[in-house]
Symmetry: C2
């Protein structure tokens, strides 16, 4: 049976074993840098033709100019193929995600300060965003909504989707989600070649300014390599959850929460911190029981066995301290009064409050984005938001009077830094010697 | 004499020559990837000892545990060594930068929606930030203020500075700026080894969560390589300015503005767009005249000759269209009514309004940050801000009633994605079949 490691904060070897959880190697690191560089170079040189060749090779699909685009009729047909229940659920998710993200729209600022200097900033959307959607089993409609809706809310005029169709297969719900998110430009490509096409453009595909969305190692490395030519979102690592739970919880609920991350990938990580030994035992047993009944028990079992842990602490203040060291992507506070713990939590991608807020509602339709920082990146990074599709331009204005007040100090500093023309550009306007 | 290229929108070869400006190779690309990887690996393995060895080799300074830190006394002495005028100018800059950035502090949000779901987000500062300051001629006190003050305003508790002291030399104004910015932890190291120490820590230096600040190729590559272990700011490229000016400007002022970017680096780019041939001629002549008198004429002349341009257009609507394609780091609107053009500008790092707002005041003390996106990154990126030192945590809370309303759709979507435990984690709480 799969068993997560068990730690007790009282144990003499607690610190090294906890530290191991922070650094545990969860991702296999295949080096695809050179291969990806070659693919990008080919797409830049040969454009569409390179897309056709790589798609034949990797996706076993005979791509051509004629079928590169997934058009309106094909999306219509996909929507038709979906069950009404699934479409209704997607619609609820889309409207809730849009409602939450709408509150993130930033405000422009403009004011004149006490020296008469006009200051402020202005937010504008990027012109075009590209969304990568994986093919095959990891082709999730929820991911389409979570990546595309913030772009739409930001006001991005052109949102493009790329999705490979290996062996000519595509998940119809993915196309239905694209329709709901207002995407009307979809290309049947994937892998590093799709990222290269989005970044540099081809005869058929205009380039974008920002690329988001999850993908395999090739996609992740390609995004890193085109960064600078375009903006990218963060590179997503394996999913993870930390549940802080008291003994009043139903072990069945908590076990399901832990397995809901473990089932994503063999590299996922699930951790329970509780203050009660018996509850810890009960959850451990229940996880094993649920694993036995899970259609994804191979994946979830491996993640649970290799990367996961149940930790018993003396009190919840200690739990918060450990949580801050883990800086988890998802944190459930399954306790009677989660708001009491909240001020002690410094680093987490998303926090779920109370016993009736399982992480899965955040994956689909609570409203906040499910693209969140992993692998302790919550120490310095945030989840995807409307701001990722906008940029802020500073505004600086001055008339003669204002420049007369602040200009001389600028001349002083420019001279101190040995930047002659900087000094002169101000001094000339003040008819001052630089 | 150095002469920038001259373009006229009416010319038959305008488009290819303008396109060349967008793609002009401005940075030499030495490949230091392997060297940097070795340095980082050595610092991770040997810690302080590696810092000592590399500092002796690269900075010709005999570093040891005893002199690794630049302490209070040394900073006191540096401040004493500065002129009162310089200190006063730095103080004005610091207070204006702090005032502007204080307005960027984001607000937390929390609300309950119509389904009874608690939603929102919370901003928290990173625990520790590291600021890289170059040594030698590029050691700018203004850069210390522009990088450290946003961190302070964000509420970062520990702000660390690293600065190399090649041949035991340091600019006292840099230490004075550090004092003004509230930095009290300073290490005498630079290069890739300093970035490695900040990211991974050594016996003497605790690691940070975010690294910012400009540096040479080694520093830039090291930041890319440690990204993920810590957050980093953007990788700064050579500076650039676009001036949109009518013929009512004094050519002397505009020439100085153009040269104030050109003098930064031989890779800098300065572009003037005007609607008046005679004014274009006058500026061209004035630039040459000013160049002759500039102590930095070698640098500025090369940048002006190789990367820069004067462009004549028919009207300012065209000027804005070209500006959006250039997406400049700095944009001056030196026209009678800059606010009339503003709505047409989509992409720029900072915009300077009117004839009395030379870019140099933005470099030093207008208030906004001088760390701005270069090389057309303003299409998707923003300048440094308080938000770069904070991260946003999503908040999701639900009671039984709220989960009963939104939960069933989450179960539907989880099942559609084949994620059994996701469905179960919701269904169990609803006593529903997953």
């Amino acid at each position: 049976m799969a068993m997560a490691r068990r730690l007790n904060q009282g144990d003499i070897d607690f610190e090294p074993r906890f530290a191991e959880l922070l650094t545990i190697k969860r991702e296999s690191s295949v080096d695809v840098n050179d291969q990806v560089a070659q693919i990008i170079s080919d797409v830049r040189k040969d454009g569409d033709e390179a897309l056709f060749i790589y798609t034949r090779r990797f996706d076993r699909f005979d791509l051509s100019t004629a079928n590169l685009t997934i058009g309106k009729e094909e999306v219509d047909a996909a929507v038709e193929a979906c069950s009404e229940e699934d479409i209704k659920a997607l619609e609820l998710a889309a409207s809730r995600i849009a409602a939450y993200h709408s509150r993130q729209k930033p405000e422009d600022v403009r004011y004149t300060d006490d020296q008469g200097v006009t200051l402020g900033w202005r937010w504008t959307a990027v012109d075009a965003a590209g969304l990568y959607v994986p093919g095959g089993t990891a082709s999730y409609p929820s991911s389409v909504l979570m990546n595309a809706i913030p772009a739409r809310v930001a006001g991005v005029e052109r949102v493009v989707m790329v999705v490979p169709t290996p062996d000519d297969k595509i998940n119809p719900l993915v196309l239905a989600a694209a329709r709901l998110a207002g995407i009307d430009e979809i290309y049947r490509i994937g892998g590093a070649q799709a990222i290269a096409a989005l970044a540099y453009g081809t005869a058929s595909i205009a380039p974008v300014d920002k690329i988001v969305g999850p993908g395999n190692a090739y996609v992740a490395v390609a995004k890193k390599q085109v960064f600078g030519q375009v903006g990218i979102d963060s590179i997503a690592g394996p999913s993870e959850i930390l549940v802080i739970a008291d003994c009043e919880n139903d072990p069945d609920w908590i076990a399901a929460d832990l397995l809901s991350q473990a089932e994503h990938d063999v590299s996922s990580q699930s951790i329970l911190i509780t203050d009660n030994e018996e509850f810890a035992d009960a959850v451990a047993i229940t996880v094993e029981k649920q694993l036995g009944a899970s259609p994804r028990q191979d994946i979830a079992g491996e993640a649970w066995q290799n990367n996961s842990a149940i930790i018993v602490v003396d009190d919840f203040t200690q739990a918060c301290t450990l949580s801050n060291r883990l800086a988890p992507e998802h944190l459930e506070l399954a306790v009677a009064d989660p708001d009491r713990l909240l001020p002690h939590i410094r680093h987490a991608g998303a926090i779920f409050l109370g016993r009736y807020a399982p992480e899965a509602i955040g994956d689909y339709l609570a409203g906040p984005d499910h693209v969140l920082p992993t692998a302790r990146a919550a120490r310095y990074a945030s989840g995807l938001s409307v701001l990722d599709f906008m940029k802020r331009t500073s505004i600086i204005g001055a008339g003669e009077e204002a420049l007369r007040r602040i200009g001389p100090a600028a001349v002083t500093l420019a001279n101190a830094e040995g930047l002659h023309s900087h000094a002169q550009s101000v001094a000339l306007r003040l008819k001052q010697k630089p």
